[in-house]
Symmetry: C2
Subunit: 142 residues, 2 copies
Amino acid sequence: MLKIIVITHGTFSEGIRSSLEMILGKQEEFLTYSILENCDLESVKSELNDELEKSSASGQEVLFLSDLFFGTPFNLITPLMEHHRFFHITGINLPLVMEIVSNRNAEDIPGMLQESLSLGQSAMLDCVDYLKSAMGSRKEDY
Amino acid sequence: MLKIIVITHGTFSEGIRSSLEMILGKQEEFLTYSILENCDLESVKSELNDELEKSSASGQEVLFLSDLFFGTPFNLITPLMEHHRFFHITGINLPLVMEIVSNRNAEDIPGMLQESLSLGQSAMLDCVDYLKSAMGSRKEDY
């Protein structure tokens, strides 16, 4: 099973986990790291490295999910690419995370991640515009 | 100033607020609602209605931000369209919320929201692909 590690500024990681688990139930192999003010970043980086080594030893794939391109969590993860192979998606929203979690046993992980990204992007939308447009279409249809 | 109301399953709303405020500082006119198990949805709906009436009386625009298209928070907000005018974006991520908050005093709110949506979508990406591609381009450039 794909191991998922969510790492964000503040408690966003725990918040999105709470939202996810309310809808899809408790998740295994799903870790969260919250980078708070005065957090010991070296210690977090060392923990992430340990997780990667443990997963590598057992042949498990790892996916990092972060909140912001070039934010502190992103910058903690990127240097780990030097010695480890893993996946990393940034700018997460709930539809993206739900899609990934629902398909984490897929054989083609890169393909599954691309499809999840596409779904996550299209599920970010202006609801008022969408509903007005849907109502307009319906009016024309009937 | 545009009033922002974030409403999500679980504590995602407070989590993303914590992440946002860690980066951009404390926000005014920024409310969060967490829809937990056994939450009294009618009471939340009534509170949201009160917020809309208060803002309408003072001529203030309101933007709802929700986590999931057709999720419970989305379904609480949508019926309020019958009696109120407001903005509503779903599928939020941190780059989107940061962009909106940074431009909440814009004169053209619909235009600002469209630009923020576009930025939020493009800031959701596969970092490994992006970095490999950026490194490849650099190699060719130099």
